[in-house]
């Protein structure tokens, strides 16, 4: 985390610069089946973040050395478009995107019934078209929906969200300014039904009590986002009626 400067990000009454309260999410919307070439797809906007996810497969795993005799492998790519950030970023994978791809794949493997597709591969392509802090959470949450849209059997959905710390106060869902000057960031990936944790990262500085509060905010947000996931899937598969 940056942690630089004495930027005031939160008012005495707990109101944040964009008017949110400490445990309030940015606006979230999800749309299913947006990419005709993919087997399953999802578009998610989360604040100013835009992520689109395509799912391909299950297909034969190539090259053969990546095959697993007892399960499918998830081949996940998290990629930021060159125009997604304030300063253009060079196209192609870097160490950050490779790490995010890895932990995202491992989180999704925890919910997909991979044992049903031995020797096969499922490709999950996460494209960040516009980035405003929290892109990995946005990508994971959208990927779970795209997998469902592709008809891949899963034991639960997955919701990812982050809480953090700004001006020594624990808050939910940091936006860009808060992320730049924040003191901690705690992104998690939660199975909405069982509340199990499938994804967890954190950096910065949190006392044990702050950690507990951040997790509490995260858990509450999971339910909110899960409803939006369900609504988006229902909207596609029931023609928009609910």
């Amino acid at each position: 985390m940056g942690g630089y400067g004495d930027v005031e990000l939160i008012a005495k009454d707990g109101t944040r610069l964009d008017g949110r309260s400490v445990d309030e999410l940015r606006p979230v919307s999800i749309e299913v089946g947006v990419l005709p070439a993919a087997r399953g797809s999802c578009r998610m906007t989360w604040g100013l973040n835009i992520a689109e996810v395509a799912v391909y497969g299950p297909m034969e795993a190539h090259p053969r050395k990546i095959q697993r005799p007892d399960r499918a492998v998830l081949d996940v790519r998290y990629n930021m478009a060159p125009f997604s950030t304030s300063d253009r970023i060079r196209p192609g994978f870097n160490r950050r995107s490779r790490e995010i791809s890895k932990v995202t794949a491992e989180a999704l493997e925890s919910i997909v019934m991979v044992e049903m597709f031995p020797r096969s591969k499922i490709r999950v392509e996460i494209e960040i078209l516009c980035a405003e802090a929290g892109t990995r959470c946005c990508g994971i949450t959208a990927a779970a929906v795209a997998l469902a849209d592709a008809g891949i059997p899963m034991k639960d959905l997955l919701v990812s969200v982050a809480a953090g710390k700004i001006n020594d106060v624990v808050v939910l869902d940091l936006d860009k300014a808060e992320d730049n000057y924040g003191q901690a960031d705690l992104p998690v990936g939660i199975l909405p039904n069982s509340k199990e944790i499938a994804f967890l990262q954190m950096d910065g500085d949190l006392s044990p009590a702050e950690f507990d509060l951040a997790m509490e905010y995260n858990m509450k947000a999971v339910d909110e986002i899960h409803k939006i996931q369900i609504e988006a899937l229902r909207s596609k598969y029931t023609g928009g009626d609910n």
């Binding site: 005709p36 997604s84 253009r88």
Partner: protein, 260 residues
């Protein structure tokens, strides 16, 4: 991956062609529907989204200051890139760019660059010291055929909407990027013996050679490219060259209407 050529598809396309039909019911030179949106990406200084049939392409423009090249001290630069990436179709693999991907990027770039639509001297900030580099990145999200034309269209539309972020760089007021022309690419594919305009994914799979024509506002040609195995006659070329003139006019109107 062994690419089993879909003979049955080829046969079917040939039979349809004999009756002057296409697999999705279009006429020989009929185009799919196009939906063009602009200003769709808040972190880009110009952006466009093209939905062309089932093909979906985003284009985003970013500016950066750089030192000019010694031999052209008053000229800025335009870098256009387009790539075939795994998100766009099951057939694209991750890894270093394929020859196909490089060809796409270079052909789209040449069409825009050679049209002279951007006056490089208009990108000069301080001669010999500082000029703008314009990065036009084209991102294919869904390839259901004819991504060349979709990329070219998204690219010129994004440029037409772009704002030079002079304010953010502390060198004056933001202003529109001057774009003087609207080059349009038209692509043709030999399918079942004859050339069709705007090939679909099936036609690309079951067809042979491909011709890309980029035309400027005055009907002059700025870029040509023949791709894939196959030959064609000068008479065949003359026919599609004429058709391209008409298609380009229609597409140019779509851009003009959208970006005022």
């Amino acid at each position: 991956m062994v690419n089993i050529v879909p003979r049955l598809l080829k046969d079917q396309l040939t039979k349809l062609a004999e009756k002057d039909l296409r697999i999705d019911g279009r006429g020989q030179f009929e185009r799919r529907n196009i939906d063009l949106e602009i200003d769709v990406l808040s972190n880009a200084e110009g952006s466009a989204k093209v939905v062309w049939g089932g093909t979906i392409v985003y284009a985003g423009v970013k500016f950066a200051l750089r030192e000019p090249y010694p031999d052209r001290p008053a000229d800025g630069s335009l870098m256009t890139s387009a790539e075939l990436r795994p998100v766009a179709n099951v057939k694209y693999e991750p890894g270093p760019p394929s020859a196909e991907s490089i060809e796409l990027g270079r052909v789209v770039d040449r069409g825009i660059r050679e049209s002279g639509c951007i006056d490089m001297e208009s990108l000069c900030v301080v001669p010999g010291e500082s000029v703008w580099n314009v990065n036009l990145d084209i991102h294919v999200m869904s390839d259901k055929g004819n991504i060349f034309d979709a990329c070219a269209l998204a690219g010129i539309a994004a440029l037409k909407t772009a704002t030079v972020p002079a304010n953010r760089f502390d060198i004056g007021e933001d202003h529109k990027l001057p774009v003087n022309k609207i080059p349009i690419m038209c692509s043709y594919k030999r399918v079942g013996g004859r050339f069709v305009y705007d090939p679909s994914e099936e036609e690309e799979l079951g067809g042979s050679e491909r011709i890309h024509i980029t035309l400027g506002d005055d009907g002059h040609v700025h870029s040509l490219q023949k791709g894939l195995k196959g030959t064609f006659s000068t008479a065949e070329f003359a026919e599609i060259f004429t058709n391209a003139g008409k298609q380009a006019e229609e597409l140019r109107k779509i851009v003009e209407e959208m970006v005022i």
